[in-house]
């Protein structure tokens, strides 16, 4: 009996052990399967039809060793990401280009001032309509802009990858783009000037976004005869307060300073040593009013008579205090520090600068400013310390409006003859500065002095080399080249009109972005690549290290409203779709998910007012749905998680197929529905 028991329990134990062994073995087998699967792919080098030898390919294509080097420096294989991202103005296309570097691949266009259908920007979606309306001037609905100078938000004078600002020269507006979703969130219209130019520039911690003016005009969009130019016309600089938390410009906390009616041009904010100060240059200090048709000198001549124009030196911190103390006048409800107050409070000083300058660029340490007079072959370098010393010494001359003028010799540190038509300057990490030469056209490399002296082998303040560019260079942008710590790897020359660089596509020429390698010091600074830009004159760009950007892959929650940065009250979850009628108002709550809209039938009566909410309930990275309705000019882009709303009056009866405009899945064509508008009689 005992024996039997023992045998039984032994056999039970054995059985259990066997079962467990089977489990363990089968698990181990499944794990081995995985390992085998991941390591199974192999690639073979085979360049179909052509010899394997890279040199033979180069020979067949007529490539020189320099071409091969350029190709090796720029070629970025499929699936490999670029090291830098450039944000470039699209000129009077009114948009911003996002370009990867060094591959120079255009990755995206961000709709800013101009409606853009792919992004559903300005075709019904309420949030985008409100953004665009924010940029309207009075009663005028504007549908374009002349984007000029993008500015990335900064922390401690270095790009932080959070926001991008850009101005519209034509209409005097500033846009705020959130780099969490690369979408424009706000347009603000300058309340005192119709146009601008010297924007956008941010101070080192982005508390303020600077918008400088351009063509003198009566403040507040008023009328005055040109005969009264000296008395009634004015220049301006506007300080927009940026609320980083809200991701919006706070117009109520912003202010402007009235300036003499010189044409303020470009500005830059001081940093490190010069933090707290802002610099703008100007031209037409002659105050020419043109009128070539009446026998007057045309502007181009009248505005180019004086040998010197005025660099504006503005004490930003003191200006903020003065504005906060309420020592302002009211122009269209906007606080403006009058020119007299600016003089009395010591906010504004002038330094003569070589005629008709176009760029003022603060060095990475904030100690020097580089000014280029486009009609003078030199760059002039001013010392911030010398300017401060001259202000402290207090021996000034004064312009016609009583603004104190510091003597040129008291402020200038050095002048470097760089070539014809110097415009804009950028910096690197090797003690060099780079200046675009519009007339030559070329990019010049020259040495900085001061603390930069030890970084390069050449003599301070001398020209090192020039690289010809094709053609008509305007701005240049170096990698992080206007921050406190430039990267010194690449520089892009933004050339207007490509002329012979690409196939002839008719009389209107594309622009040409040329990539230059500035990684080596000395005389070597080769052009690597040409990128045609099929859009307006690009003006400025900024280049950020790609790893500083951390955009969302999808919106954080289902029902996200990108314009309120929160879940929309009209979010529609799956199963909550409905249509409600209230008198003549029909309200629709719809979901979009691969591959159907719910509801698929929407019945409306002619004359109804329709309010339509759609939520894309997807959480997948690439599951964007479009939504379009014919005739009513509705076209939306609803990205994963996004909730959007549009409204229209059902004026026309008929049968309207709405459908998803993105190729969202294999059943994309079936992602459609009928909107039936019954005739009213």
């Amino acid at each position: 009996m005992k024996l039997q028991k023992n045998r039984m329990s032994r056999s039970v134990t054995t059985g259990i052990v066997i079962i467990l062994l089977i489990v363990v073995i089968s698990i181990m087998a499944s794990c081995n399967d995985n390992g085998g699967a991941t390591g199974s792919e192999s690639t073979t080098a085979d360049t179909a039809g052509v010899s394997n030898d890279a040199m033979a390919i180069a020979e067949a294509r007529g490539l020189t060793p320099d071409d091969i080097a350029a190709a090796l420096k720029t070629y970025t294989p499929s699936g490999v990401h670029d090291e830098y991202i450039m944000f470039a103005s699209g000129g009077h296309g009114g948009q911003v280009y996002v370009i990867g570097m060094p591959s120079m691949r255009i990755i995206k266009q961000i709709a800013v001032f101009t409606p853009e259908p792919w992004q559903g920007y300005g075709y019904g979606a309420e949030g985008t309509m409100e953004v665009l309306a924010g940029g309207n001037v009075g009663e005028s609905d504007l549908t374009w802009g002349d984007t000029h100078h993008p500015a990335l938000s900064e922390t401690d004078g270095d790009y932080d990858g959070q926001f991008l600002f850009i101005n519209d020269k034509a209409n005097g507006r500033v846009a705020v783009i959130d780099l969490k979703d690369f979408e424009t969130k706000q347009l603000v219209k300058n309340p005192i000037a119709l146009g601008d130019h010297g924007g956008t520039f941010v101070v080192p911690d982005t508390e303020w976004v600077i918008e400088g003016g351009q063509y003198g005009a009566p403040l507040g969009w008023e009328y005055a005869s040109l005969d009264d130019y000296n008395e009634a016309y004015r220049g301006m600089i506007t300080f927009w307060k940026f609320d980083r938390e809200a991701g919006r410009i706070d117009t109520d906390a912003s202010f402007a300073i009235e300036l003499p009616p010189y044409w303020q041009d470009l500005c830059d904010a001081g940093k490190l040593a010069s933090d707290g100060w802002v610099f703008c240059n100007s031209f037409n200090t002659e105050r020419a009013t043109g009128g070539v048709e009446d026998g007057n000198p045309p502007f181009e001549a009248g505005a180019s008579q004086n040998d010197m124009d005025f660099l504006h030196v503005i004490d930003k911190n003191k200006a903020i205090e003065v504005a906060a103390a309420g020592k302002t006048m009211d122009v269209q409800g906007f606080p403006v520090i009058s020119l007299q107050t600016a003089i009395d409070e010591g906010l504004l000083y002038f330094v003569p600068e070589p005629k008709s300058p176009h760029g003022v660029d603060v060095t990475p340490d904030g100690k020097f400013l580089t000014i280029s007079g486009k009609l003078d072959p030199h760059v002039s370098i001013y010392s911030f310390q010398k300017i401060q010393d001259a202000i402290a010494a207090g021996s000034f001359e004064y312009d016609d409006y009583g603004v104190p003028i510091i003597a040129f010799d008291d402020a200038v540190e050095a002048q470097v003859e760089v070539g014809l038509g110097p415009l804009h300057t950028q910096y690197d990490d090797k003690g060099y500065a780079y200046t675009s030469l519009f007339l030559e056209p070329a990019v010049a490399r020259w040495t900085l002095g001061g603390d930069f002296s030890d970084l390069h082998e050449e003599e301070d303040w001398t020209l090192v080399t020039k690289t010809p560019v094709q053609y008509n260079v305007g701005h240049i942008a170096a990698a992080e080249g206007d921050t406190v710590s430039p990267d010194g790897r690449f520089l892009v020359s933004m050339n207007k009109w490509a002329i012979d660089r690409f196939a002839n596509v008719g009389p209107l020429l594309p622009q040409n972005f040329q990539l230059l390698d500035i990684g080596e010091g000395g005389a070597n600074m080769p052009v690597l690549y040409d990128l045609p830009i099929p859009d307006g004159e690009p003006h400025y760009a900024q280049i950020i290290k790609a790893d500083k950007l951390s955009p969302w892959e999808v919106y954080p929650e289902v029902g996200w409203n990108p314009h309120t940065n929160s879940v929309d009250p009209n979010v529609v979850q799956l199963g909550e779709e409905r249509v409600e009628r209230n008198g003549n108002e029909v309200e629709i709550w719809m979901t979009a998910v691969r591959s159907h809209f719910t509801p698929e039938h929407v019945e409306i009566k002619q004359g109804d007012h329709v309010i339509w909410h759609i939520t894309n309930v997807e959480r997948a990275y690439d599951a964007t749905h479009g939504f379009s309705i014919p005739y009513y000019n509705i076209n939306l882009s609803i990205e994963p998680g996004e909730a959007t709303t549009f409204e229209f009056d059902a004026t026309e009866d008929g049968v309207f197929s709405y459908y998803c405009t993105e190729f969202c899945s294999a059943l994309h064509l079936e992602m459609t529905g009928y909107m039936l508008i019954e005739p009213s009689e």
Binding site: K5, V17, L20, V23, I27, S30, D33, A37, A620
Partner: protein, 215 residues
Amino acid sequence: MSAIKKIIGPRVPENMTAEDKKLFNVPTILFGVAAILLVISIFLPYWEMELQAPQYPKGLHITAYANRLTGDVAEIDGLNHYIGMSPLDEAAQFEKSVSVLAIAALSLLILAAIFVHTKWVVLLVLPTILMPLMFLADLQFWLWKFGTNLDPTAPLSSAIKPFVPSVLGSGLIAQFKTIAMPGLGLYLAIIASIVSVVGLYFHRKAYKPLVESGQ
């Protein structure tokens, strides 16, 4: 009284050397360890499936805990609607609702086993030993049920025939390669199972002579 005594068996004599007591401590420790592993496993994934397809460079993942599914469930449900598969959360609703209590009960049973010194201890330990297998069997049942009950009106019903995904290992559904593997929780349960078997062995070694001498 005597019936209970018969089941729980004799107590360990007080007058033993420390060396001899060690023999009785071994099964106690092993059963204790098994109980603790089971409780920990409640908080860890039991089963994971990865779906690989060119459109999903990062893959899609489902993670099954004893009582819930997490991961790209919504996305996988979204894909499954094309082939007419029911939403994953509708699977094993009863099992998910009782699983935490059930695992806790297993732990209590195996703790009780420490105090039962007869052959009846097998009944207390057996559920823990079989638990990993039962989990996998149940999961395979649900995979079979879901894979073979496809809505015939679904968009891709003619392209995808009913199929039975494998509970462990890899498979292929349309362009998706599927890889199913045990999670850390299941590994703990398996270890608990093995430890329990070893515990039974030492239990028998320690208490059998005691039971026999008592009789």
